[in-house]
Amino acid sequence: MTWTKNVLRVNLTTGACSPEPLRMDWAQQYLGQRGLATKYFTAEVDPKVDPLAPENKLIFATGPLTGTPAATGGRYAVITKGPLTGAIACSNSGGYFGAELKFAGWDMVIFEGRSSRPVYLLIEDGEARLLDASHLWGKTVWETEETIKKHHQDPQIRVASIGRAGENGVLFAAVVNDLHRAAGRSGVGAVMGAKNLKAVAVRGTRADAYHAADPDAFAKAVEEGKKILAANGVTGQGLPAYGTQVLMNIINEVGALPTRNGQDIQFESARAISGEAMHEKRPTDGKPNLVTNGACFGCVIGCGRISRIDPDHFSVKGKPNYQIASGGVEYEAAWALGAAAGVSDLDALTYGNFVCNEDGMDPISLGSTIGAAMELYQLGLIPKEEAGMELPFGSAEAVVKLVELTAKGEGFGRLIGLGSLRLCSKYGRPDLSMSAKGQEFPAYDGRGLQGMALNYATSNRGGCHVRGYMVSPEVLGIPVKLDGGATEGKAAMLKAFQDLTAVVDSAGICLFTTFAWGAPEIQAQVQAACEGDWSVDKLLLLGERVWNLEREFNLAAGFTGKDDTLPPRLLKEPARSGPQKGRVAELGKMLPEYYQVRGWTPEGVPTPETRTRLGL
């Protein structure tokens, strides 16, 4: 079976690193990664815990398909209670780090307590040690990774670390691995920083850590899965060519691109920051922004963008360390640093994205918070003197400056680092935070796509697109085409998406496979890899169980059904243009039905029958 059956528990307070056997009874109920780590987390942590206190825990978890040839089988997730939201946080990432952890022989690492001084964890197969990181504190992710590899004379070490944002308590700080892959959302990096844990460095050389339960059947299922991905228009063509940025023009046309902090839902300059634009030669230096596409471990899609900024662009002029090929903008980042702030300078957004990778920040929350600051400035609520600069919508200079200040924890960047809800509350306008449960929602406007509105309102980690990606049915027609403006049938479809996504995450593969794969393709691979009987029904029930477990943690943390809501702008201000002109997000029509299909009370609490059915 493809679990290593080993968990590493690291007590940062005492410095003890202790192995323990994986709870295989839980693995049968929660599979791995998101699901299994959430089970561990909720069993061990008080839901009322202060996210930045030593009593909060931080789990790095892989799934049974992580570190296998299953297409996209390289994912790991970081699970904790998020400081941005106060809700369960689970951010997953690709790159190579997750697979390396499995190669070293670990399914999961659980961090508890708080170190008295900066440390990093070095895992070399079965050996784990906490090492002094005082020389790394204050360093960026990029410097940290390079320093650790050099120090141990091993370029094959994989590193996941925080930059200055995580050290400085930026509430949307990310954990970044392999230079530009990130467990990006909900501030998991700030929890790591609060624990004085700078990095996790792993080298795994064990050939015997795990094997597929049925290797031949696994090879066959994996091969079949790859063929389906290659033949699919989205995973075989659109994503490799344009990355997720294939969406910029599409979402703008359907009228669901939140612009200038959601004042508009179409951006007049969307084309200039689109995936297509990344391919075009710049007039300034005659070279395109995009250098090549890139893949994470085991991924046959290759949606990653590797970009280079014009060396004469104002953001990088005279700064050779940014005049490199590095992780370019994906759709959400391009929207957040672009449309949300009304900015159309592709190279400026790319620079902002580089800095997010370099210092470990979530570009979605960062860009959305900058957009909110710009609206507060527009309203005269943030004076120029207080911001230390002018903050008009459309200013690439302001975005670049604020990204830098936030990364370093300087000046007005300290307020940006609190996220949009705290920023807008400080200036008396919490309604201008485009967030749900305190987390900024991403690049799809709930007025244009009603299913996404319901998804934002109900997501267990706050505003988020990758918990129930209703864009698939509402825009792309996967698995069936639903009218984005309609509310009918959205509740049941969203539940199906949320539950399947929980399965995908728990398996350790990438959500993007589901543009081409359904539950049967995933089932065939899990079945061959894992011991036991894994039917589609069992997996979907497992996904639902994970969803409800997260929900119950949030309820115990103090959230109620009243928090399943959206900013007044989405609920009351009609869309100004586009096919959904005049529409608002009709949450009231969908939410009661959603509670019903979930088997929850009208207050949004799982009923005793639902709990029994799910074995909670």
């Binding site: 570190g67 296998t68 040839p69 190579y96 697979a99 190669f103 094959q156 230079l179 795994g204 050389t205 064990r206 050939a207 015997d208 850590a209 094997h211 290797p215 790859k226 290659a230 250098v291 090549t292 596409n293 890139g294 893949a295 994470c296 471990f297 085991g298 991924c299 046959v300 290759g302 990653g304 590797i306 280079r308 490199i324 090929a325 590095s326």
Partner: protein
């Protein structure tokens, strides 16, 4: 007809399916630490380059081996390590100019690409065509085709 691995780094995305396939073919593990082909990242250039043994005709490793543990497989042209003969002295790892023969501490032997007996797993696993297994005498044909395509043979467009 002999075949050679042909590597086109421009097509490599860095997914490491080749490394997993190699490790699995030879050691029945997915751990890429056991792979005989490595994808070398040049992060700041945005390049990933798969690299392995090119099966030199006058192979330095083969000539350097004091116990004749590295031999030619006449069917494939591969220089293969006879594990039962190898004494793990590592002289071949010093002799090879390209670094593509390496020691495996766990086994006490060296290892290198043996072309999987004529059906390389890495080439089969590569999803982008960055690694192919082609006529050994015509590894340049793909490049010739690319350049030929740039030749203007239509006078009307001049």
């Amino acid at each position: 007809m002999q075949r050679s691995l042909r590597i086109d780094p421009n097509k490599c995305t860095g997914c490491l399916q080749c490394e997993m396939a190699c490790a699995y073919e030879n050691y029945k593990t997915y751990n890429i630490a056991r792979s005989r082909i490595k994808v070398i990242p040049f992060e700041h250039e945005g390049r990933k380059v798969p690299y392995t043994c090119t099966q030199c005709s006058e192979a330095w490793c083969m000539h350097a081996c004091p116990v004749e543990a590295i031999v030619l497989d006449p069917a494939t042209g591969a220089k293969i390590v006879r594990e039962d003969v190898c004494v793990g002295c590592k002289v071949c790892t010093i002799a090879c100019p390209f670094g593509t023969v390496n020691y495996v501490a766990e086994l006490g032997k060296v290892q290198k690409c043996d072309l999987c007996g004529g059906d390389p797993a890495c080439a089969k696993a590569c999803p982008t065509g960055a690694i192919t297994f082609v006529d050994a005498d015509w590894t340049g044909l793909g490049k010739m085709r690319d350049w030929a395509g740039r030749t203007d043979t239509n006078p009307a467009t001049v």
